[in-house]
C-alpha cells in the first residue's frame, strides 16, 4: 500500500476514523505520519489530513476552476492545497461556497450555535427585542391603540440607535 500523502513510500500507519457516520481510511508512511503529527496528542485529527487531500479539489470545483484570491490576505486555493489551512478570518467569507460542503462532511451542522463574545450576545438580544417590539407595534396599530403605538415607536427608535452603536 502506498502512502496517501507523499504517494511514494510504502504505508505503514493505517488509520480509520468515523467522521459523520462515514468511515474515512488513510494510509501513511512513517515520515509522513510524523510530519502530519499523527502521533501528536495535542493536535491530530484525520479530518485535518483529509482536508489537505480532498478538500482542496472541492474548493477548486466550487469556484468552477476560477482563481479566487482573498482580498484581505492574498490567500488562494493553491495555498489551501499546500497547507490545508486558510489564510485569515476573512477567507471564510471569500471561500464561502466551497467551504459549505466541506463543513457539512466535517461537522454536526454548518451554523454556529455555541458561545458568542459578549458583544454579539448584546447585539443578538437587541435584535430579538427589536423584532418583538415591531410585532407589538403592528398589533397596536391594528387595534387602533395609537397612544401605545406612539410609545412603542419611541422605544423602537431608541433600540435602533443602540444597535447602531454596537455594530462594528
Amino acid at each position: 500500500m502506498i502512502c496517501d500523502v507523499c504517494k511514494q513510500n510504502i504505508a505503514s500507519v493505517h488509520l480509520t476514523q468515523i467522521v459523520n457516520q462515514e468511515t474515512k481510511k488513510i494510509d501513511l508512511c512513517e515520515p509522513c505520519s510524523k510530519e502530519k503529527g499523527v502521533d501528536d496528542p495535542t493536535g491530530f485529527s484525520i479530518a485535518d489530513l483529509l482536508l489537505g487531500l480532498g478538500a482542496a479539489q472541492e474548493l477548486e470545483q466550487s469556484t468552477g476552476g476560477k482563481q479566487i484570491k482573498c482580498p484581505s490576505c492574498g490567500f488562494t486555493q493553491v495555498d489551501f492545497k499546500k497547507a490545508g489551512r486558510l489564510g485569515c478570518s476573512e477567507c471564510y467569507h471569500h471561500f464561502n461556497e466551497g467551504l459549505e460542503t466541506l463543513l457539512k462532511t466535517m461537522h454536526k451542522g454548518t451554523r454556529h450555535i455555541g458561545k458568542m463574545p459578549q458583544f454579539y450576545r448584546n447585539t443578538q438580544d437587541l435584535t430579538t427585542k427589536l423584532v418583538n417590539l415591531q410585532k407589538k407595534l403592528e398589533k397596536a396599530i391594528a387595534d387602533e391603540q395609537f397612544e401605545k403605538a406612539a410609545s412603542l415607536r419611541d422605544e423602537l427608535r431608541l433600540l435602533n440607535t443602540q444597535l447602531k452603536d454596537t455594530t462594528p
Binding site: 502521533d39 454536526k108 454556529h112
Partner: protein, 370 residues
C-alpha cells in the same frame, strides 16, 4: 525565569490532590481563537506574527489567573526546554518547532496554558488531573470570557470563532481525556471499543507511539466536531463516553481477575521483575512495563509503596527529561542504560507483587513437602 525552575518536579505535580480515579489520568479542554483581520500564523509574515504575539501576550499576562505565570517567547527557549514541555503535554510538537513570533504562557498552578501563534493566534488550555472535564471547561470558559474584553476576536455569528483550519471552526473547542486502559488491551476488546467510540463522532488514539499503536496502554479520547453543537453538549457527550469507558475497563479488570488471574499476575510480576532488574531499557519497553505496574498498583498488589512512583517514572524516563537530568549529549544507548538505572534505583524499595492469596493455596500439581 528558567522554565525548569518554574515547572514543579514531576513527583510534586503528581502528588497534587486529584479525584480518586485510577483510570482517567487527566482531563483537558482547549479553545482556539484568532484576532480579526490579521493573517493566521501559518500564512502570516514575521512582522504580523510578532504583532499578534505582542497583542496577545500582555493580555494573557494581565489575567488575574496568570499572576506569577511563566511567560516566554518561543525563540527564548532552548530545544531541550521545548521538548520537556512537549513531554509534559503542555505544548504541541508543532509549537515546539516555532521560534520568533510565537509564545507560551503557563500559570503558577500549571493548569492553564496558552500557546500564541501555534496553528491559531491563540490556543488556551485548561488541564486537570483525573476526571474533571466539566471543571476544565468552566476554567477555560472563564478565561476566554475575560480575554474577549481585551482582544478583538475573529467571530462570525453564522460560523462562530474563525480558525485557521476549518476542522476547528465554530466553538474552537477540543475536549479530551487521557485514559489508562490496560485490561481492555489485555483482553483484546480495545479495537471494538475504539470503533464504537468513533461512531459517536469522537476520536480515540494512543497517546504515545505512532499511528494506532498505544504505548503504555494510554489513550486519548476527544471530540472531532466543533460546529453546530453547544460547548456544553460536547463536554457532556465526552463525559458520558469517558464514564462508559471507565466502566468497561473496570469490568474487563474484574473478568480478567476472575477468569485469568494467573495471566494478569504473570504480566505484572514480569513487568516488575524487568523494571527492577534490567540494565538497558528503551522508552517503548519502559512505558509498556510501567503500565502493567500501574495496573498492579490499582489491584493493590504493591503494598506499602506509592503508585505515584509509577506516574513519576512515566515522565522522568522520557528522552528530554533524561537529557535534562544528565546531559544533552546522550546517545540512544546511553539513554537506555540511564533509564534502566533510574528504574532499578526507584524500585529498589518496592517489594515484589503480593498475590499471596493464590500462592498460599497450593496447586494440586505440587507434591507435598517431604
Amino acid at each position: 525565569m528558567n522554565i525548569n525552575d518554574f515547572l514543579s518536579s514531576p513527583p510534586l505535580s503528581q502528588h497534587r490532590p486529584e479525584p480518586d480515579d485510577l483510570i482517567v489520568l487527566s482531563s483537558r479542554v482547549r479553545l482556539a481563537r484568532n484576532l480579526r483581520q490579521l493573517p493566521f500564523p501559518g500564512f502570516a509574515k514575521k512582522n504580523d506574527r510578532v504583532r499578534v504575539l505582542e497583542t496577545i501576550r500582555p493580555a494573557v499576562e494581565s489575567l488575574p489567573t496568570m499572576v506569577d505565570a511563566f511567560s516566554a517567547t518561543m525563540d527564548s527557549l532552548t530545544n531541550l526546554d521545548k521538548q520537556i514541555l512537549v513531554e509534559r503535554h503542555l505544548i504541541s510538537r508543532e509549537h515546539a518547532a516555532k521560534s520568533v513570533g510565537s509564545g507560551f504562557v503557563l500559570n503558577k498552578e500549571e493548569n492553564l496554558c496558552v500557546m500564541i501563534n501555534e496553528e491559531d493566534h491563540l490556543r488556551m488550555q485548561s488541564l486537570r488531573p483525573g476526571l474533571q472535564i466539566k471543571e476544565a471547561w468552566k476554567a477555560i470558559n472563564q478565561m476566554d470570557s475575560t480575554l474577549e474584553k481585551k482582544l478583538d476576536y475573529a467571530f462570525s455569528p453564522e460560523l462562530g470563532y474563525l480558525t485557521a483550519c476549518p476542522t476547528n471552526l465554530g466553538t474552537g473547542i477540543r475536549v479530551s481525556a487521557m485514559l489508562h486502559l490496560p485490561a481492555l488491551v489485555l483482553s483484546e476488546q480495545i479495537n471494538q471499543i475504539v470503533q464504537a467510540v468513533n461512531k459517536l463522532g469522537l476520536a480515540v488514539r494512543g497517546l504515545y507511539g505512532e499511528g494506532t499503536e498505544a504505548l503504555g496502554n494510554i489513550f486519548q479520547v476527544s471530540n472531532q466536531m466543533t460546529l453546530g453543537e453547544l460547548e456544553t453538549d460536547i463536554v457532556e457527550r465526552l463525559s458520558k463516553v469517558v464514564a462508559q469507558l471507565i466502566e468497561h475497563e473496570q469490568n474487563a479488570r474484574a473478568t480478567l481477575l476472575e477468569k485469568k488471574s494467573k495471566t494478569v499476575y504473570n504480566h505484572i510480576g514480569r513487568a516488575y521483575g524487568i523494571l527492577a532488574n534490567a540494565h538497558s531499557m528503551s522508552s517503548k519497553e519502559s512505558m509498556n512495563l510501567l503500565s502493567l505496574m500501574r495496573l498492579g498498583f490499582d489491584l493493590s498488589l504493591f503494598q506499602g509503596a506509592d503508585r505515584i512512583l509509577v506516574d513519576e517514572l512515566f515522565i522522568t524516563t522520557q528522552p528530554a527529561h533524561l537529557q535534562k537530568r544528565f546531559t544533552e549529549k546522550l546517545t540512544t544507548e546511553e539513554r537506555d542504560f540511564l533509564r534502566a538505572d533510574m528504574m532499578r534505583d526507584r524500585l529498589k524499595d518496592v517489594s515484589r507483587p503480593m498475590t499471596d492469596k493464590n500462592e498460599s493455596r497450593r496447586s494440586p500439581l505440587d507434591k507435598p513437602a517431604e
